[in-house]
Protein backbone atom coordinates (compact mmCIF):
# COMPACT_ATOMS: atom_id res chain seq x y z
CA UNK A 1 0.00 0.00 0.00
CA UNK A 2 1.00 3.62 -0.38
CA UNK A 3 2.56 5.10 2.73
CA UNK A 4 3.94 8.42 3.84
CA UNK A 5 7.74 8.43 3.93
CA UNK A 6 9.94 11.22 5.17
CA UNK A 7 13.42 12.01 3.93
CA UNK A 8 15.09 14.21 6.50
CA UNK A 9 17.68 15.31 3.94
CA UNK A 10 15.05 17.45 2.19
CA UNK A 11 13.19 18.78 5.21
CA UNK A 12 13.66 22.52 5.63
CA UNK A 13 11.84 22.68 8.95
CA UNK A 14 9.11 24.99 7.66
CA UNK A 15 6.36 23.20 9.62
CA UNK A 16 3.92 23.64 6.72
CA UNK A 17 2.98 19.96 7.03
CA UNK A 18 1.71 20.63 10.53
CA UNK A 19 -0.44 23.54 9.36
CA UNK A 20 -1.74 21.67 6.32
CA UNK A 21 -2.59 18.67 8.48
CA UNK A 22 -4.42 20.77 11.03
CA UNK A 23 -6.34 22.55 8.28
CA UNK A 24 -7.24 19.34 6.42
CA UNK A 25 -8.64 17.82 9.59
CA UNK A 26 -10.36 20.94 10.90
CA UNK A 27 -13.49 20.57 8.81
CA UNK A 28 -13.17 24.25 7.86
CA UNK A 29 -13.06 25.46 4.28
CA UNK A 30 -11.02 28.54 5.06
CA UNK A 31 -7.44 28.12 6.20
CA UNK A 32 -7.61 31.41 8.06
CA UNK A 33 -10.68 30.30 9.96
CA UNK A 34 -9.13 26.94 10.70
CA UNK A 35 -5.77 28.15 11.92
CA UNK A 36 -5.80 31.79 12.93
CA UNK A 37 -5.72 32.37 16.63
CA UNK A 38 -6.16 28.70 17.52
CA UNK A 39 -3.76 26.18 18.98
CA UNK A 40 -3.31 23.80 16.10
CA UNK A 41 -3.53 20.06 16.69
CA UNK A 42 -1.67 18.47 13.81
CA UNK A 43 -1.33 14.71 13.50
CA UNK A 44 2.15 15.11 12.09
CA UNK A 45 4.91 16.79 14.07
CA UNK A 46 8.27 18.17 13.06
CA UNK A 47 11.27 17.21 15.15
CA UNK A 48 14.29 19.45 14.79
CA UNK A 49 17.59 20.57 16.21
CA UNK A 50 20.19 22.90 14.76
CA UNK A 51 21.41 20.26 12.27
CA UNK A 52 18.51 18.13 11.23
CA UNK A 53 14.72 18.16 10.98
CA UNK A 54 12.02 15.76 9.84
CA UNK A 55 8.32 15.14 10.19
CA UNK A 56 6.79 12.16 12.00
CA UNK A 57 3.31 10.78 11.55
CA UNK A 58 1.73 7.34 11.91
CA UNK A 59 3.66 4.65 10.03
CA UNK A 60 0.57 2.50 9.63
CA UNK A 61 2.59 -0.48 10.83
CA UNK A 62 1.63 -3.82 9.29
CA UNK A 63 1.72 -5.33 12.80
CA UNK A 64 0.37 -2.40 14.79
CA UNK A 65 1.10 -2.47 18.50
CA UNK A 66 -1.32 0.43 19.10
CA UNK A 67 -4.24 -1.61 17.74
CA UNK A 68 -3.23 -4.63 19.80
CA UNK A 69 -2.90 -2.49 22.91
CA UNK A 70 -6.17 -0.58 22.51
CA UNK A 71 -8.37 -1.46 25.46
CA UNK A 72 -11.64 -0.45 23.81
CA UNK A 73 -11.34 -1.72 20.25
CA UNK A 74 -11.47 1.89 19.02
CA UNK A 75 -8.26 1.50 17.03
CA UNK A 76 -8.43 -0.83 14.08
CA UNK A 77 -6.59 -1.54 10.86
CA UNK A 78 -8.54 -1.74 7.63
CA UNK A 79 -6.85 -2.09 4.24
CA UNK A 80 -3.60 -1.24 6.00
CA UNK A 81 -4.84 2.09 7.36
CA UNK A 82 -5.01 2.43 11.10
CA UNK A 83 -7.82 4.64 12.25
CA UNK A 84 -9.48 5.56 15.49
CA UNK A 85 -13.19 5.34 16.20
CA UNK A 86 -13.60 8.38 18.41
CA UNK A 87 -17.09 7.22 19.35
CA UNK A 88 -15.58 4.25 21.17
CA UNK A 89 -12.34 5.86 22.41
CA UNK A 90 -12.31 6.82 26.09
CA UNK A 91 -8.97 8.63 26.03
CA UNK A 92 -7.08 6.19 28.25
CA UNK A 93 -3.91 6.83 26.17
CA UNK A 94 -2.73 3.23 26.25
CA UNK A 95 -1.95 3.58 22.53
CA UNK A 96 0.22 6.61 23.28
CA UNK A 97 2.08 4.46 25.79
CA UNK A 98 2.56 1.81 23.09
CA UNK A 99 3.39 3.67 19.86
CA UNK A 100 7.17 3.54 19.20
CA UNK A 101 7.00 6.65 17.01
CA UNK A 102 5.10 8.98 19.30
CA UNK A 103 2.61 9.30 16.45
CA UNK A 104 -0.66 9.30 18.39
CA UNK A 105 -1.72 12.45 20.20
CA UNK A 106 -4.26 13.25 22.87
CA UNK A 107 -7.19 15.36 21.67
CA UNK A 108 -7.90 16.98 25.01
CA UNK A 109 -10.84 18.96 23.72
CA UNK A 110 -12.75 15.77 23.00
CA UNK A 111 -11.13 13.43 25.52
CA UNK A 112 -10.02 10.99 22.84
CA UNK A 113 -6.89 10.37 20.77
CA UNK A 114 -6.15 11.48 17.25
CA UNK A 115 -3.76 10.16 14.65
CA UNK A 116 -2.91 10.35 10.97
CA UNK A 117 -5.44 8.49 8.87
CA UNK A 118 -3.76 9.39 5.57
CA UNK A 119 -6.48 12.00 4.95
CA UNK A 120 -8.94 9.22 4.12
CA UNK A 121 -11.55 10.68 6.44
CA UNK A 122 -11.41 14.29 5.40
CA UNK A 123 -12.06 15.98 2.11
CA UNK A 124 -8.40 16.39 1.21
CA UNK A 125 -8.29 13.31 -0.98
CA UNK A 126 -4.57 12.69 -0.53
CA UNK A 127 -2.32 13.34 2.46
CA UNK A 128 -2.28 17.11 2.95
CA UNK A 129 1.20 17.02 4.48
CA UNK A 130 2.57 15.51 1.27
CA UNK A 131 0.65 17.77 -1.06
CA UNK A 132 1.86 20.89 0.71
CA UNK A 133 5.49 19.94 1.34
CA UNK A 134 7.47 22.54 -0.61
CA UNK A 135 10.66 20.52 -0.87
CA UNK A 136 9.51 16.96 -1.50
CA UNK A 137 10.67 15.79 1.92
CA UNK A 138 7.38 14.02 2.58
CA UNK A 139 6.23 11.60 -0.09
CA UNK A 140 3.30 9.23 -0.51
CA UNK A 141 4.63 6.15 -2.22
CA UNK A 142 4.09 2.50 -2.95
CA UNK A 143 7.30 0.80 -1.86
CA UNK A 144 6.08 -2.64 -0.86
CA UNK A 145 7.09 -4.20 -4.19
CA UNK A 146 10.64 -2.96 -4.02
CA UNK A 147 11.48 -5.20 -1.09
Amino acid sequence: MKRVYVNEKWCISCHLCEYNCAFANSGETSMVKALKGVTIRPRIRVEENDRVSFAVACRHCPDPICVKSCITGALSAKDGIISVDSWKCVGCYTCICACPYGAIQPDETRGVVQKCELCTRNSCGEPACVKGCPNGAIVFEEREKKQ
Binding site: Y5, I71, C97, G102, Q147
Partner: protein, 416 residues
Protein backbone atom coordinates in the same frame (compact mmCIF):
# COMPACT_ATOMS: atom_id res chain seq x y z
CA UNK B 1 -9.03 -28.89 13.03
CA UNK B 2 -11.01 -27.83 16.07
CA UNK B 3 -9.84 -25.03 18.32
CA UNK B 4 -11.43 -24.53 21.70
CA UNK B 5 -10.95 -21.20 23.47
CA UNK B 6 -11.78 -20.71 27.13
CA UNK B 7 -12.34 -16.99 27.75
CA UNK B 8 -13.98 -14.12 25.89
CA UNK B 9 -11.78 -11.17 26.86
CA UNK B 10 -8.62 -9.77 25.29
CA UNK B 11 -6.55 -12.99 25.34
CA UNK B 12 -9.37 -15.17 24.02
CA UNK B 13 -10.28 -12.69 21.29
CA UNK B 14 -6.59 -12.20 20.43
CA UNK B 15 -6.28 -15.97 20.10
CA UNK B 16 -9.25 -16.20 17.72
CA UNK B 17 -7.83 -13.37 15.60
CA UNK B 18 -4.41 -15.04 15.64
CA UNK B 19 -5.88 -18.34 14.46
CA UNK B 20 -7.75 -16.62 11.66
CA UNK B 21 -4.56 -15.00 10.38
CA UNK B 22 -3.40 -18.45 9.36
CA UNK B 23 -6.38 -20.79 9.35
CA UNK B 24 -9.46 -19.26 7.74
CA UNK B 25 -11.73 -22.28 8.10
CA UNK B 26 -10.81 -24.40 11.13
CA UNK B 27 -13.60 -24.78 13.65
CA UNK B 28 -13.38 -22.37 16.60
CA UNK B 29 -15.53 -22.81 19.68
CA UNK B 30 -15.27 -20.06 22.28
CA UNK B 31 -16.63 -20.58 25.78
CA UNK B 32 -17.44 -17.68 28.08
CA UNK B 33 -18.53 -17.87 31.68
CA UNK B 34 -20.24 -14.53 31.20
CA UNK B 35 -23.33 -13.84 29.14
CA UNK B 36 -22.17 -10.72 27.32
CA UNK B 37 -20.74 -10.17 23.88
CA UNK B 38 -16.98 -9.58 24.29
CA UNK B 39 -16.52 -6.35 26.20
CA UNK B 40 -13.61 -4.37 27.56
CA UNK B 41 -13.23 -5.09 31.24
CA UNK B 42 -11.20 -1.97 32.12
CA UNK B 43 -14.08 0.15 30.86
CA UNK B 44 -16.45 -0.68 33.67
CA UNK B 45 -15.36 2.38 35.65
CA UNK B 46 -15.80 4.57 32.56
CA UNK B 47 -19.29 3.14 32.21
CA UNK B 48 -20.23 4.09 35.78
CA UNK B 49 -18.87 7.54 35.10
CA UNK B 50 -21.00 7.84 31.97
CA UNK B 51 -17.98 8.10 29.66
CA UNK B 52 -18.94 5.05 27.65
CA UNK B 53 -22.01 2.89 27.12
CA UNK B 54 -22.74 -0.82 27.00
CA UNK B 55 -22.77 -0.53 23.22
CA UNK B 56 -19.45 1.28 23.01
CA UNK B 57 -17.83 -1.11 25.47
CA UNK B 58 -18.01 -3.98 23.04
CA UNK B 59 -14.39 -4.97 22.43
CA UNK B 60 -15.24 -6.12 18.92
CA UNK B 61 -18.18 -5.30 16.63
CA UNK B 62 -21.48 -7.20 16.75
CA UNK B 63 -20.60 -9.29 13.71
CA UNK B 64 -17.27 -10.43 15.19
CA UNK B 65 -18.14 -14.06 15.93
CA UNK B 66 -20.04 -14.54 12.69
CA UNK B 67 -17.41 -12.90 10.54
CA UNK B 68 -14.66 -15.02 12.09
CA UNK B 69 -16.75 -18.19 12.01
CA UNK B 70 -16.60 -18.63 15.76
CA UNK B 71 -19.14 -20.73 17.60
CA UNK B 72 -19.73 -18.52 20.63
CA UNK B 73 -21.00 -20.28 23.75
CA UNK B 74 -21.86 -17.59 26.33
CA UNK B 75 -22.85 -18.38 29.93
CA UNK B 76 -20.98 -21.65 29.62
CA UNK B 77 -18.27 -22.39 32.12
CA UNK B 78 -15.60 -24.95 31.42
CA UNK B 79 -15.28 -26.97 34.60
CA UNK B 80 -12.44 -29.31 33.71
CA UNK B 81 -9.89 -30.22 31.08
CA UNK B 82 -8.90 -33.76 30.12
CA UNK B 83 -5.55 -33.42 28.36
CA UNK B 84 -5.33 -37.16 27.62
CA UNK B 85 -8.72 -37.46 25.94
CA UNK B 86 -8.31 -33.87 24.62
CA UNK B 87 -11.71 -32.76 25.80
CA UNK B 88 -13.11 -30.03 27.99
CA UNK B 89 -16.09 -30.64 30.22
CA UNK B 90 -18.69 -27.94 30.63
CA UNK B 91 -21.61 -27.75 33.03
CA UNK B 92 -24.36 -30.33 32.67
CA UNK B 93 -21.79 -32.97 31.83
CA UNK B 94 -21.31 -32.08 28.19
CA UNK B 95 -17.85 -32.76 26.81
CA UNK B 96 -16.32 -31.02 23.83
CA UNK B 97 -13.21 -32.32 22.12
CA UNK B 98 -10.36 -30.16 20.85
CA UNK B 99 -7.27 -30.43 18.73
CA UNK B 100 -5.79 -27.26 20.19
CA UNK B 101 -6.96 -25.61 23.39
CA UNK B 102 -6.50 -22.03 24.59
CA UNK B 103 -6.88 -21.26 28.29
CA UNK B 104 -7.60 -17.56 28.67
CA UNK B 105 -9.47 -17.88 31.91
CA UNK B 106 -8.38 -14.53 33.34
CA UNK B 107 -8.18 -13.67 36.99
CA UNK B 108 -10.46 -13.33 39.94
CA UNK B 109 -10.62 -10.94 42.84
CA UNK B 110 -8.51 -11.86 45.81
CA UNK B 111 -10.15 -11.38 49.17
CA UNK B 112 -7.99 -11.75 52.26
CA UNK B 113 -9.79 -12.95 55.37
CA UNK B 114 -11.59 -10.02 56.99
CA UNK B 115 -13.63 -10.96 60.06
CA UNK B 116 -17.31 -10.14 59.77
CA UNK B 117 -17.27 -9.43 56.05
CA UNK B 118 -20.15 -11.87 55.57
CA UNK B 119 -22.32 -9.46 57.57
CA UNK B 120 -21.93 -6.81 54.87
CA UNK B 121 -24.88 -7.22 52.54
CA UNK B 122 -23.98 -4.55 49.98
CA UNK B 123 -20.56 -5.81 49.04
CA UNK B 124 -19.03 -5.77 45.57
CA UNK B 125 -15.98 -6.76 43.63
CA UNK B 126 -15.00 -4.59 40.67
CA UNK B 127 -13.79 -6.89 37.92
CA UNK B 128 -16.67 -7.65 35.60
CA UNK B 129 -19.55 -5.86 33.95
CA UNK B 130 -21.92 -7.75 36.21
CA UNK B 131 -20.05 -6.38 39.23
CA UNK B 132 -20.43 -2.85 37.86
CA UNK B 133 -24.12 -3.34 37.04
CA UNK B 134 -24.82 -4.62 40.56
CA UNK B 135 -22.92 -1.72 42.13
CA UNK B 136 -24.63 0.79 39.87
CA UNK B 137 -28.07 -0.27 41.07
CA UNK B 138 -27.14 0.62 44.64
CA UNK B 139 -25.58 4.04 44.04
CA UNK B 140 -27.45 6.99 45.54
CA UNK B 141 -26.35 10.60 46.03
CA UNK B 142 -26.21 9.87 49.77
CA UNK B 143 -24.25 6.62 49.60
CA UNK B 144 -21.14 6.36 51.72
CA UNK B 145 -18.78 4.03 49.92
CA UNK B 146 -15.83 2.24 51.44
CA UNK B 147 -13.27 0.91 48.97
CA UNK B 148 -10.68 -1.49 50.30
CA UNK B 149 -7.63 -1.22 48.03
CA UNK B 150 -5.89 1.85 46.59
CA UNK B 151 -4.60 0.09 43.49
CA UNK B 152 -5.70 0.50 39.88
CA UNK B 153 -9.06 -1.19 40.34
CA UNK B 154 -10.01 0.54 43.58
CA UNK B 155 -9.06 4.02 42.40
CA UNK B 156 -10.70 3.69 38.99
CA UNK B 157 -13.84 2.57 40.80
CA UNK B 158 -13.61 5.63 43.05
CA UNK B 159 -13.32 7.91 40.05
CA UNK B 160 -16.18 6.17 38.27
CA UNK B 161 -18.66 6.69 41.09
CA UNK B 162 -17.41 9.95 42.63
CA UNK B 163 -20.08 12.17 41.11
CA UNK B 164 -22.84 9.71 41.94
CA UNK B 165 -22.34 9.14 45.66
CA UNK B 166 -22.04 11.13 48.86
CA UNK B 167 -18.69 10.05 50.25
CA UNK B 168 -15.84 7.77 49.27
CA UNK B 169 -13.20 6.42 51.63
CA UNK B 170 -10.35 4.30 50.33
CA UNK B 171 -8.35 2.19 52.75
CA UNK B 172 -5.10 0.43 51.92
CA UNK B 173 -2.50 -1.45 53.88
CA UNK B 174 0.27 0.09 51.77
CA UNK B 175 1.66 3.47 52.77
CA UNK B 176 0.93 4.92 49.32
CA UNK B 177 -1.50 4.74 46.42
CA UNK B 178 -0.85 2.71 43.27
CA UNK B 179 2.29 1.10 44.70
CA UNK B 180 2.47 -1.33 41.78
CA UNK B 181 2.94 1.38 39.14
CA UNK B 182 4.20 4.52 40.93
CA UNK B 183 7.26 5.39 42.96
CA UNK B 184 6.91 7.29 46.23
CA UNK B 185 7.06 10.79 44.83
CA UNK B 186 4.55 10.02 42.08
CA UNK B 187 2.23 8.37 44.59
CA UNK B 188 2.37 11.46 46.76
CA UNK B 189 1.36 13.61 43.81
CA UNK B 190 -1.60 11.38 42.94
CA UNK B 191 -2.61 11.19 46.57
CA UNK B 192 -2.84 14.97 46.74
CA UNK B 193 -4.84 15.00 43.52
CA UNK B 194 -7.27 12.38 44.79
CA UNK B 195 -7.76 14.33 48.00
CA UNK B 196 -8.47 17.48 46.00
CA UNK B 197 -11.15 15.53 44.18
CA UNK B 198 -12.95 14.49 47.31
CA UNK B 199 -11.54 11.03 47.92
CA UNK B 200 -10.68 10.27 51.55
CA UNK B 201 -7.59 8.12 51.72
CA UNK B 202 -6.55 6.11 54.74
CA UNK B 203 -3.19 4.46 54.15
CA UNK B 204 -0.99 2.12 56.21
CA UNK B 205 -4.16 0.78 57.71
CA UNK B 206 -6.53 -2.12 57.17
CA UNK B 207 -9.89 -3.42 58.25
CA UNK B 208 -9.76 -5.44 61.46
CA UNK B 209 -13.44 -6.34 61.40
CA UNK B 210 -16.76 -5.53 59.82
CA UNK B 211 -20.29 -5.19 61.01
CA UNK B 212 -23.12 -4.70 58.49
CA UNK B 213 -22.34 -1.00 58.01
CA UNK B 214 -19.13 -0.26 59.84
CA UNK B 215 -15.51 -1.16 59.44
CA UNK B 216 -13.20 -1.12 62.44
CA UNK B 217 -9.66 -0.40 61.32
CA UNK B 218 -6.49 -1.73 62.92
CA UNK B 219 -5.61 1.84 63.92
CA UNK B 220 -8.79 2.07 65.96
CA UNK B 221 -10.62 4.29 63.48
CA UNK B 222 -14.18 3.40 62.61
CA UNK B 223 -15.72 3.99 59.19
CA UNK B 224 -19.44 3.98 58.55
CA UNK B 225 -20.47 2.98 55.06
CA UNK B 226 -23.45 1.93 53.00
CA UNK B 227 -21.62 0.16 50.18
CA UNK B 228 -18.39 -1.81 50.30
CA UNK B 229 -16.12 -2.41 47.30
CA UNK B 230 -13.27 -4.85 47.75
CA UNK B 231 -10.37 -4.28 45.36
CA UNK B 232 -7.41 -5.73 47.19
CA UNK B 233 -5.92 -7.59 44.26
CA UNK B 234 -6.44 -10.32 41.70
CA UNK B 235 -5.31 -13.91 41.43
CA UNK B 236 -5.02 -15.91 38.21
CA UNK B 237 -7.65 -18.53 37.44
CA UNK B 238 -5.44 -21.61 37.28
CA UNK B 239 -7.58 -24.31 38.89
CA UNK B 240 -8.56 -26.22 35.75
CA UNK B 241 -5.03 -26.01 34.37
CA UNK B 242 -3.57 -27.31 37.62
CA UNK B 243 -6.10 -30.14 37.83
CA UNK B 244 -5.24 -31.10 34.28
CA UNK B 245 -1.63 -31.49 35.39
CA UNK B 246 -0.25 -28.48 33.52
CA UNK B 247 2.74 -26.68 34.99
CA UNK B 248 1.43 -23.87 37.21
CA UNK B 249 3.47 -21.59 39.44
CA UNK B 250 2.00 -18.20 40.32
CA UNK B 251 0.20 -18.41 37.00
CA UNK B 252 0.04 -20.98 34.23
CA UNK B 253 3.56 -21.52 32.89
CA UNK B 254 4.10 -21.12 29.16
CA UNK B 255 7.02 -20.89 26.79
CA UNK B 256 7.54 -17.88 24.52
CA UNK B 257 5.16 -19.46 21.99
CA UNK B 258 2.53 -19.35 24.74
CA UNK B 259 2.45 -23.13 24.85
CA UNK B 260 1.87 -24.77 28.24
CA UNK B 261 3.58 -27.95 29.40
CA UNK B 262 1.07 -29.83 27.20
CA UNK B 263 1.88 -29.31 23.50
CA UNK B 264 -1.79 -29.10 22.50
CA UNK B 265 -2.70 -26.56 25.16
CA UNK B 266 -1.84 -22.86 25.10
CA UNK B 267 -2.55 -20.16 27.65
CA UNK B 268 -2.59 -16.35 27.58
CA UNK B 269 -3.57 -13.32 29.58
CA UNK B 270 -4.12 -12.76 33.29
CA UNK B 271 -4.04 -16.50 34.10
CA UNK B 272 -0.42 -16.85 32.96
CA UNK B 273 3.05 -15.82 34.01
CA UNK B 274 5.12 -13.72 31.64
CA UNK B 275 8.84 -13.23 31.22
CA UNK B 276 9.11 -9.50 31.95
CA UNK B 277 11.82 -8.14 29.64
CA UNK B 278 12.41 -5.10 31.84
CA UNK B 279 13.09 -6.99 35.07
CA UNK B 280 14.16 -10.33 33.62
CA UNK B 281 11.80 -12.11 35.98
CA UNK B 282 8.70 -14.29 35.65
CA UNK B 283 5.74 -12.19 36.69
CA UNK B 284 2.03 -12.01 36.32
CA UNK B 285 1.29 -9.10 34.03
CA UNK B 286 -2.46 -8.75 34.28
CA UNK B 287 -2.71 -6.08 31.60
CA UNK B 288 -4.96 -5.93 28.59
CA UNK B 289 -2.33 -5.23 25.90
CA UNK B 290 -0.20 -8.07 27.20
CA UNK B 291 -3.21 -10.40 27.18
CA UNK B 292 -4.12 -9.56 23.60
CA UNK B 293 -0.57 -9.98 22.30
CA UNK B 294 -0.08 -13.28 24.12
CA UNK B 295 -3.42 -14.54 22.84
CA UNK B 296 -2.68 -13.53 19.27
CA UNK B 297 0.75 -15.16 19.42
CA UNK B 298 -0.78 -18.38 20.76
CA UNK B 299 -3.48 -18.36 18.08
CA UNK B 300 -0.94 -18.05 15.28
CA UNK B 301 1.02 -20.97 16.72
CA UNK B 302 -2.08 -23.10 17.32
CA UNK B 303 -2.89 -22.73 13.64
CA UNK B 304 0.56 -23.97 12.65
CA UNK B 305 2.32 -20.61 12.31
CA UNK B 306 5.43 -19.54 14.12
CA UNK B 307 5.15 -16.62 16.48
CA UNK B 308 7.11 -15.67 19.56
CA UNK B 309 6.01 -13.22 22.22
CA UNK B 310 9.19 -12.16 23.95
CA UNK B 311 8.40 -8.50 24.48
CA UNK B 312 6.26 -8.57 27.61
CA UNK B 313 6.69 -5.58 29.89
CA UNK B 314 4.44 -3.93 32.43
CA UNK B 315 2.75 -0.91 30.87
CA UNK B 316 -0.13 1.14 32.15
CA UNK B 317 -1.92 4.22 31.04
CA UNK B 318 -4.78 5.82 32.83
CA UNK B 319 -6.28 9.01 34.05
CA UNK B 320 -7.72 9.85 37.43
CA UNK B 321 -9.91 12.94 37.65
CA UNK B 322 -8.33 14.46 34.57
CA UNK B 323 -4.72 13.77 35.52
CA UNK B 324 -3.08 11.27 33.18
CA UNK B 325 -0.29 8.90 34.00
CA UNK B 326 1.65 6.58 31.76
CA UNK B 327 4.08 4.08 33.21
CA UNK B 328 6.10 1.15 31.94
CA UNK B 329 8.86 -1.25 32.91
CA UNK B 330 10.66 -1.76 36.19
CA UNK B 331 11.85 0.89 38.59
CA UNK B 332 15.45 -0.02 39.26
CA UNK B 333 18.85 1.56 38.72
CA UNK B 334 19.63 5.23 38.46
CA UNK B 335 16.87 7.75 38.14
CA UNK B 336 16.36 10.95 36.22
CA UNK B 337 13.56 12.90 37.85
CA UNK B 338 11.79 16.13 37.03
CA UNK B 339 8.81 17.53 38.82
CA UNK B 340 6.74 20.61 38.15
CA UNK B 341 3.52 21.86 39.68
CA UNK B 342 1.34 19.64 37.51
CA UNK B 343 3.68 17.10 35.94
CA UNK B 344 6.13 14.44 36.97
CA UNK B 345 8.71 12.48 35.06
CA UNK B 346 11.00 9.77 36.22
CA UNK B 347 13.23 7.62 34.02
CA UNK B 348 14.95 4.59 35.53
CA UNK B 349 18.03 3.27 33.78
CA UNK B 350 20.68 0.69 34.46
CA UNK B 351 23.39 -1.17 32.57
CA UNK B 352 23.03 0.94 29.45
CA UNK B 353 19.27 0.39 29.01
CA UNK B 354 16.12 2.20 30.01
CA UNK B 355 14.39 0.06 32.63
CA UNK B 356 11.23 1.95 33.37
CA UNK B 357 9.50 5.32 33.46
CA UNK B 358 6.70 7.22 35.09
CA UNK B 359 5.05 10.16 33.38
CA UNK B 360 2.28 12.17 34.98
CA UNK B 361 0.59 15.11 33.31
CA UNK B 362 2.71 15.49 30.20
CA UNK B 363 2.52 12.06 28.57
CA UNK B 364 3.00 12.92 24.89
CA UNK B 365 4.97 10.43 22.76
CA UNK B 366 5.54 8.21 25.83
CA UNK B 367 5.65 5.17 23.56
CA UNK B 368 9.13 6.14 22.39
CA UNK B 369 10.32 5.41 25.94
CA UNK B 370 8.21 2.25 26.12
CA UNK B 371 9.74 0.89 22.93
CA UNK B 372 13.24 1.58 24.27
CA UNK B 373 12.45 -0.61 27.27
CA UNK B 374 10.85 -3.29 25.13
CA UNK B 375 13.69 -3.35 22.58
CA UNK B 376 16.38 -2.82 25.21
CA UNK B 377 17.87 -0.03 23.12
CA UNK B 378 21.48 0.58 24.23
CA UNK B 379 21.58 4.06 25.76
CA UNK B 380 25.01 4.74 24.28
CA UNK B 381 23.41 4.45 20.82
CA UNK B 382 21.04 7.38 21.47
CA UNK B 383 21.27 10.94 22.75
CA UNK B 384 19.99 10.09 26.19
CA UNK B 385 20.38 13.63 27.52
CA UNK B 386 17.97 14.79 24.85
CA UNK B 387 15.60 11.92 25.58
CA UNK B 388 15.56 12.84 29.24
CA UNK B 389 13.97 16.14 28.26
CA UNK B 390 11.49 14.71 25.78
CA UNK B 391 10.81 11.40 24.06
CA UNK B 392 11.85 12.18 20.48
CA UNK B 393 13.04 10.16 17.50
CA UNK B 394 15.70 12.79 16.77
CA UNK B 395 17.68 11.36 19.68
CA UNK B 396 18.25 8.15 17.72
CA UNK B 397 21.12 7.61 15.27
CA UNK B 398 20.72 8.65 11.64
CA UNK B 399 20.39 5.03 10.55
CA UNK B 400 17.76 4.33 13.15
CA UNK B 401 15.81 7.42 12.14
CA UNK B 402 16.01 6.39 8.50
CA UNK B 403 14.68 2.96 9.49
CA UNK B 404 11.87 4.45 11.49
CA UNK B 405 10.54 7.09 9.11
CA UNK B 406 11.84 6.40 5.61
CA UNK B 407 11.82 2.65 5.07
CA UNK B 408 9.00 0.39 4.03
CA UNK B 409 8.27 -0.39 7.60
CA UNK B 410 10.37 -0.37 10.67
CA UNK B 411 12.28 -3.57 11.22
CA UNK B 412 13.13 -4.31 14.79
CA UNK B 413 16.85 -4.20 15.40
CA UNK B 414 18.47 -7.61 15.55
CA UNK B 415 19.77 -8.29 19.01
CA UNK B 416 23.39 -9.36 19.27
Amino acid sequence: MRYVIIGNSAAGIGCAEGIRKTDKDGEIILFSKEKQHTYSRPLISYWLEGKTSLEKMKYRPDHFYKKNKIVFRPSTEVVSIDPVGKTVRIQKGESVSYDKLMIASGSKPFLPPMPGIEKVKKRFSFMSLDDAVQLEKQLTPESRVLIVGAGLIGLKCAEGIRSRVGKITVVDLADRVLPSILDEKASAMIRKHLKANGIDLILSDSVASFTAKTAALKSGKEIRFDLLVTAVGVRPNTEQAAQAGLAVKKGIVTDLHMRTSDPSIYAAGDCTESQDVSSGTQRILALLPNAYMQGECAGINMAGGNSVFDKAIPMNSMGLFGLHMVTAGTYEGECYRKKTEDSYKCLYYKENVLKGFILIGDIGAAGIYTSMIREQTPLDSVDFDLLKKNPRLIAFSKDEREQKINTRFYREPVKG
